[in-house]
C-alpha cells in the first residue's frame, strides 16, 4: 500500500507536476471534508443508547415533524433558486448589453460588495430595517402604504427577498460569465436572419447561458437548503427547517448520532430532488421537440459539460 502510494507520487512527478500541485487541496479535502463526513456517517448508524448498527435514526427522519422541516427547506431552496434566477438573468443581460464595458466590472463589484460583510450582520441589518420601528417600515407608514397593525417581518415574501439578497451572487456570476462570452455578432446574425429580440433570447441567449443557469441553480439550492437563520430572524421562526433539526440535535439534545442521520438524509433528499428535476426537464424538452424545433444540444442537456 505504502509502496503503491510512493510509486504513484514518483510516477506523477515524472508525468505531470499538476498532481503534486493539487495535493495540498486534496489533503485538505480529505482531512476536513471526507474524513469528518465518514465519521458522521459512521455515527449515524448507531442510536445514542445502543451499540448495534441500525437504521433507526434514518427511520425517525421520516416522522411527520422531521419530514415537514425537510419539506420546508426544499420549498425554501427552490423558491430561492427560482427567485434568484428571475432576478439575475435580466440583471446579467442588462449589465452585459446596456452598461458600458468600462463600467461593468465596477457594477459587478458594487453588487458583490455587501457579501464582504458577515452573513449574520447582513441579516440583522435587514431585521432592523424591516421591523416595526425600522426605517423602511416608518417610511412606508409615512407614505400611508402600511396600516398600524401590519408588519413587514414574518412573512414568506420577505424571507425570499432576503434569501435572494444573500445568495444571488452565486447565480449572477455564472450566468454573467456565460452571457459576457456571447459574441455580439451572433446576436446581430440572429436578427439578420429574421429573429425578433424574443426569439433571439429563447434561441440564442438562453441556450448559451444554460450552463451558467445550471451551475447557479445547483449552488443556490444547495446553500439555501441548509439555511435557517433567515427564516428564523426575518420569517418570524414560525416553521422549522432542516438546519434547525441539525442544530437542535447537535447543540440542544447533544445527540450527534441522530444529528448525523438528519444531515445525510437531507443531503439525500436535495440531491434526489435535483436529479428528479433534471430528468423531468429533459423529458419535457423531448416532448416539446415534437412540436417545436429545439437545438440538439439542449436535448442532450448536460449542465456539467
Amino acid at each position: 500500500m505504502v509502496q503503491y502510494v510512493v510509486y504513484l507520487v514518483k510516477k506523477s512527478f515524472k508525468q505531470e507536476f499538476g498532481f503534486v500541485l493539487a495535493m495540498p487541496a486534496v489533503i485538505w479535502q480529505i482531512c476536513f471534508l471526507l474524513l469528518p463526513a465518514l465519521v458522521l456517517f459512521w455515527r449515524s448508524l448507531f442510536t445514542i443508547d445502543s451499540w448495534g448498527v441500525t437504521l433507526a435514526n434514518y427511520v425517525s427522519c421520516t416522522g411527520a415533524t422531521y419530514a415537514a422541516a425537510i419539506y420546508n427547506s426544499l420549498v425554501l431552496a427552490y423558491l430561492t433558486a427560482l427567485a434568484c434566477l428571475l432576478f439575475c438573468l435580466p440583471l446579467a443581460l442588462v449589465i452585459n448589453f446596456h452598461i458600458k464595458r468600462e463600467l461593468r466590472t465596477a457594477v459587478l463589484l458594487f453588487l458583490m460588495m455587501p457579501s464582504w460583510t458577515n452573513f449574520i450582520i447582513r441579516i440583522y441589518s435587514w431585521f432592523f430595517l424591516l421591523r416595526n420601528d425600522g426605517m423602511l417600515f416608518r417610511i412606508l407608514q409615512g407614505l400611508g402604504l402600511l396600516n398600524a397593525g401590519s408588519s413587514l417581518l414574518a412573512n414568506q415574501v420577505v424571507t425570499i427577498v432576503v434569501m435572494v439578497y444573500c445568495y444571488f451572487p452565486y447565480m449572477l456570476l455564472p450566468i454573467y460569465n456565460c452571457i459576457s462570452n456571447i459574441n455580439p455578432r451572433i446576436l446581430e446574425a440572429s436578427g439578420d436572419l429574421g429573429a425578433s429580440s424574443w426569439q433571439t433570447f429563447w434561441r440564442v441567449i438562453l441556450p448559451l447561458s444554460i450552463k451558467g443557469i445550471g451551475s447557479g441553480w445547483l449552488v443556490v439550492t444547495l446553500v439555501s437548503f441548509g439555511e435557517f437563520a433567515v427564516p428564523e430572524l426575518i420569517g418570524g421562526g414560525k416553521y422549522a427547517y432542516w438546519g434547525n433539526l441539525v442544530v437542535n440535535n447537535f447543540l440542544l439534545l447533544s445527540d450527534y448520532n441522530a444529528g448525523s442521520a438528519v444531515i445525510f438524509f437531507g443531503i439525500l433528499v436535495i440531491l434526489a430532488s435535483l436529479l428528479l428535476i433534471y430528468a423531468a426537464l429533459k423529458l419535457l424538452l423531448l416532448v416539446l421537440s415534437h412540436f417545436v424545433t429545439i437545438p440538439q444540444k439542449l436535448l442532450r442537456l448536460n449542465f456539467a459539460d
Binding site: R185, E188, A189, S190, G191, D192, L193, G194, P295, K297
Partner: protein
C-alpha cells in the same frame, strides 16, 4: 433580386462623421463590390443596408420600397458575416435552418430547403458537426448557406474571406461567383482587397479614406481608366507623374512631365481638359514595354537605365531611371535585363491616363 439605392446617406459615430451625403445605386442581379481601405465606412454602408444601423439622414430603397425604418429582421436582406457569425450551440444543419425556424416554416419545408442548400454549398456529411470543429472554408460555406437558404433579395458580404488563406480565398470567391451567376441574387460584397474586387465584381465602387465614393464602374474600367489618383493607386501598382497640358486636340493631349514630353489619349467620357492645366499622368507598370532597341508603333518613347530588379514570379519588377531622373516602375515578362543596362521605355498613348491634380 432587387436593386438597392442609397440616397443622401449621412452617418456619424459620436463626433466622427463616417458617411457624408452618400448616394449609391446598386443594380439588381449584379455582383457589386464596395472596395476601400479599412475604416473608410464601407462596413457602415453594409450595416445600414442590412438594418443593423440606422442612418442619421437619407433613405435606403430596396427596389422601389423605402426600407429606411424597417428593422433588420423584417428586411429580405441577409448578411454573410466574418467567421464569428455562426451560432456555437447549433449544428451545421441547425445553423442553416435557423432563419427558416424563426420564420416559422413547417418542418418538412425546412428540411427540404436546408438539405438542398447543404448540397449546393458542398457541406454533405457535416450536418451534425458543431462550428468549433469545422475548418475556415467550411465555416464560410455554412455562413453562406445560412443566408442563401433565406432566399433574400439582396445578399451582403462583410469581408467574409479576410480570415482565409490566399488559395482557399480564391476558390471560395469562384464558388461565390458561380452561385451568383446561377441565382441572380443581388450580391453586395465589401472588401479592402483589390484582387478580390477585380475578380468577382460586375461593378466596383471605390471609396476613399473620407467615406466618399470616388468611382463606380466595371473592374476593367476602374483598373484601366481610374478617375482619380486615389483610385489609380488603390486598385493596383501605378506610376504617377506630375505634368502640364501643353497642347490639346480631339483625340490627343501633349504633356510636359517630370519624365519628359508624353502624349496621352483624350477620353471622351472623362473630364473636360484645358491647355495649361496641371495634371497627373498615370501609367500602369505592366503596360510599359522595355527593349534594348527602339521599337515602332508606340506613341511614347523614353530612354533610361535599369536601376534595380525584383523577381516576383510571373514578371520582373524593374525600376527604370529615365534620362530626366524620375524612376518608373515596370513589370516585364522579359527577364533578361540587368542592372545598369541602357533601355528604351515604350508605352501607348491610351495607357497614359490624365488625372486631376
Amino acid at each position: 433580386m432587387k436593386s438597392v439605392s442609397l440616397l443622401n446617406i449621412s452617418k456619424s459615430h459620436g463626433d466622427k462623421k463616417i458617411l457624408d451625403n452618400l448616394s449609391l445605386f446598386i443594380e439588381a442581379g449584379g455582383f457589386f463590390v464596395l472596395l476601400g481601405p479599412s475604416g473608410c465606412g464601407k462596413t457602415t454602408i453594409l450595416r445600414i443596408i442590412a438594418g443593423l444601423e440606422k442612418p442619421d439622414s437619407g433613405k435606403v430603397l430596396l427596389g422601389d420600397e423605402d426600407i429606411t425604418q424597417q428593422p433588420a429582421y423584417q428586411r429580405r436582406v441577409n448578411t454573410v458575416f466574418q467567421q464569428q457569425g455562426l451560432f456555437p450551440h447549433l449544428t451545421v444543419f441547425e445553423n442553416i435552418a435557423y432563419g427558416l425556424v424563426v420564420r416559422g416554416l413547417p418542418r418538412e419545408a425546412i428540411y427540404e430547403k436546408v438539405e438542398r442548400q447543404i448540397k449546393i454549398v458542398n457541406l454533405l456529411g457535416l450536418e451534425k458537426k458543431y462550428p468549433e470543429t469545422l475548418s475556415g472554408g467550411q465555416l464560410q460555406r455554412v455562413a453562406l448557406a445560412r443566408s442563401l437558404v433565406m432566399e433574400p433579395d439582396v445578399l451582403l458580404f462583410d469581408e467574409p474571406m479576410s480570415a482565409l488563406d490566399a488559395r482557399l480565398k480564391e476558390r471560395m470567391l469562384i464558388e461565390c461567383l458561380n452561385l451568383q451567376h446561377a441565382l441572380k441574387t443581388t450580391f453586395i460584397y465589401i472588401t479592402h482587397d483589390r484582387k478580390e474586387a477585380l475578380m468577382v465584381a460586375d461593378e466596383i465602387a471605390v471609396m476613399n479614406f473620407d467615406g466618399k465614393v470616388e468611382q463606380v464602374a466595371a473592374p476593367k474600367q476602374v483598373y484601366l481608366r481610374p478617375r482619380s489618383r486615389f483610385v489609380a493607386n488603390f486598385i493596383g501598382d501605378v506610376n504617377i507623374i506630375a505634368g502640364v497640358i501643353k497642347d490639346l486636340d480631339q483625340s490627343t493631349a501633349s504633356l510636359q512631365t517630370d519624365i519628359g514630353n508624353l502624349s496621352s489619349m483624350v477620353d471622351a467620357t472623362s473630364i473636360v481638359w484645358s491647355v495649361g492645366a496641371r495634371i497627373f499622368a498615370s501609367i500602369r507598370p505592366e503596360r510599359i514595354a522595355l527593349s534594348y532597341e527602339e521599337l515602332s508603333g508606340f506613341g511614347n518613347k523614353l530612354k533610361g537605365h535599369i536601376e534595380s530588379i525584383i523577381f516576383s514570379g510571373v514578371f520582373m519588377r524593374y525600376m527604370v531611371a529615365t534620362s530626366v531622373g524620375t524612376t518608373l516602375l515596370v513589370f516585364e515578362d522579359n527577364f533578361s535585363f540587368k542592372v545598369g543596362d541602357e533601355v528604351f521605355v515604350h508605352f501607348h498613348n491610351d495607357d497614359v491616363i490624365m488625372l486631376e491634380s
